[in-house]
């Protein structure tokens, strides 16, 4: 047990330590400005002058004010503790006060993002699996579908997202849920497609020959061999897919003037100069992704146990 726990905690500890160390130089200018306004003497004087001095020199010359960088209201880089507090303020504390669905609660925004992610994931994985089935069944299908699938991934999603919003409003789709789901699906289908093509093609020639000796139909080969053989690939791609779907949804919320969702929180945080809001929304997104992937992982274990895996 210790042999597992120790490395995990060591990596986590290293990240936290590095983060704390980074806070000092990142926040020193803001800290000095704040201290100066409060009447302290700073070397050199004046925010504009300090712009030409390196952060290291500022820290060395004003070492008594470095600590201030760890307690700023609007830090350039918040400390892990500040992010944690903000996260708690916008989630757990909201729940305690019965305001989980308030517009200021990350649970509310996370739920909005989760919904689009879910629909995007469903749409994207269906498209990916369907595409993979078509591709594995016909050479012509591969030649006609695969190039488009690859081209689709070379277009930056940020460029495409506003167009999808505009176009879907043109065909009379109200609200942002559907276009967000489409953007999410757009990012999510590709890894599923590629992974499932590999999975459905994974059976060896001997295994296909065996079914040929039974005179099995194409549908039977699919059902009895290709589909079960692809299951390990399926779960791997689903995990990549759900993370991509979440990113897609957040990207879909960024340039579209949305006011709800984690992406909107990030954008609003940026516009209103509240880095804590950005960071807590980022962490909320990461936690959400972690939960979704863990959920799929548990599902995978259950399925593989049923399929005779050595878990």
């Amino acid at each position: 047990m210790m042999r597992v726990v120790f490395p995990v905690l060591a990596v986590l500890g290293a990240i936290v330590v590095l983060w704390y160390l980074a806070v000092a130089p990142m926040n020193i200018r803001v800290a000095l400005d704040t201290a100066e306004r409060a009447g302290a003497e700073i070397v050199p004087e004046g925010s504009a002058v300090r712009r030409d001095v390196s952060v290291w020199r500022l820290m060395a010359q004003n070492s008594e004010h470095v600590a201030l960088g760890y307690a700023l209201e609007r830090p350039r880089l918040p400390t892990p503790q500040q992010v944690g507090q903000e996260l708690w303020k916008t989630t757990g504390k909201m729940v305690q006060r019965g305001r989980a669905w308030s517009k200021r609660s990350l649970i509310y925004h996370g739920w909005i993002t989760l919904q689009s992610t879910f629909w995007g994931f469903l749409l994207g994985t269906s498209m990916g699996i369907l595409g993979a089935v078509l591709i594995t069944h016909s050479r012509v299908m591969e030649m006609s579908l695969m190039p488009w699938a690859i081209i689709s991934q070379t277009i930056p999603i940020v460029a495409l997202a506003p167009m999808i919003i505009v176009l879907s409003s043109q065909v009379g789709i109200e609200g942002r849920g559907v276009p967000k789901a489409i953007i999410s699906a757009y990012l999510c289908y590709f890894p599923v497609l590629v992974g499932m093509v590999k999975g459905l093609r994974s059976p060896a020639t001997a295994q296909l020959d065996l079914l040929k000796t039974y005179n099995a139909s194409g549908a039977q080969v699919f059902r009895f061999l290709r589909l079960p053989a692809s299951v390990p690939y399926l779960f791997t791609t689903l995990k990549v897919g759900i993370a991509a779907a979440l990113v897609g949804t957040i990207v879909g919320e960024l340039p579209t003037g949305a006011i709800s969702g984690l992406g909107a929180r990030i954008l609003i945080g940026d516009q209103f100069g509240t880095p804590l809001a950005i960071w807590s929304a980022l962490f909320a997104a990461a936690i959400l992704a972690g939960m979704l992937v863990t959920l799929l992982d548990v599902l995978q274990r259950l399925v593989q146990r049923r399929m005779g895996g050595r878990v």
């Binding site: 020959d209 065996l210 040929k212 000796t213 039974y214 005179n215 299951v231 005779g308």
Partner: protein, 274 residues
């Protein structure tokens, strides 16, 4: 000997012909980047119902290819072959044979019973009959009690027995086996050979058996087909005078050694060609 025409013309539909495999001047040439490879050249052979025929020869002699042609897994490029009086393709579609591959090739996601049930599910047997047949063939290969185990929980020899049970689960009169015991150790192999002979005696199936072990070929077969490579062809066909009842120590009798000697001579003669 009956030709295809005679079977179609004169024999009654219900009675199976005595000739199970009939190959005439069979050739198969693979086109590769290094030029054509003659896997089989002018191979003629007749296998009768109830025969246990071994194909023996060095690698590249076309023994596996010949078996795969019978199973319609390869198409010959020349000559003619009939299986049960019809083309290999028709025989395959009529599910005339069970095929045992070199590797057991069990599906890891199915239990042993599930693996044996696979052909039955594909062929659409009734549920109750499936259970009955699975129990019967697992008993035949002495794997009763392992129904719910997954393949990785079994030894290599047991896996190969399960794959034989899978080939026996449906009523094919022909059993084609491609070096089924090749990867197993000598002791397990002896045991499985004994079991296979017992099984053959009980079921009366026609068996085509590819091997590169001389003792295995002589011990098992009623007919030994010696093949040689480049191009793949038959150099000798030996009808075994050994009795049907064969205890393991028959391998020390003079008759056995004499046949083994002849097989070895045949293999050597084949090599002298290149």
């Amino acid at each position: 000997m009956l030709s295809t025409d005679e079977i179609d013309g004169f024999a009654e539909r219900e009675t199976l012909p005595d000739v199970v495999i009939d190959a005439r001047d069979l050739s198969l040439t693979f086109q590769t980047n290094d030029g054509p490879v003659h896997a089989l050249k002018d191979v003629s052979l007749t296998i009768e119902k109830g025969d246990f025929v071994s194909f023996i020869g060095p690698s590249g002699c076309g023994k596996t290819t010949f078996l795969r042609v019978m199973a319609d897994l390869e198409k010959p490029t020349g000559g003619a072959i009939t299986v049960n009086g019809v083309s290999p393709e028709e025989a395959r579609k009529a599910r005339a044979y069970g095929y045992v591959f070199q590797a057991a090739g069990l599906y890891p996601w199915r239990t042993i019973a599930g693996n044996v049930r696979l052909p039955l599910e594909i062929m659409g047997y009734a549920k109750s009959e499936m259970a009955e047949r699975v129990a019967k063939v697992l008993d035949l290969v002495e794997l009763s009690g392992f129904e719910q185990k997954f393949p990785w929980q079994l030894s290599g020899g047991m896996q190969q027995r399960a794959s034989i049970a899978r080939a026996l689960a449906f009523d094919a009169d022909i059993l084609l086996m491609d070096e089924p015991f090749g990867a197993l150790d000598e002791i397990v192999r002896d045991h499985l050979n004994e079991q296979l002979l017992a099984l053959w005696a009980r079921t009366g199936k026609t068996i085509g058996f590819v091997t590169h072990s001389i003792p295995e070929a002589v011990y098992l077969s009623t007919k030994i087909v010696v093949m040689s490579p480049r191009p793949g062809r038959i150099t000798d066909v030996i009808d075994s005078p050994l009795p049907k009842e064969r205890p393991l120590d028959i391998r020390d009798t003079p008759e056995f050694l004499e046949i083994a000697h002849r097989v070895r001579d045949g293999l050597r003669a084949g090599h002298a060609y290149d």
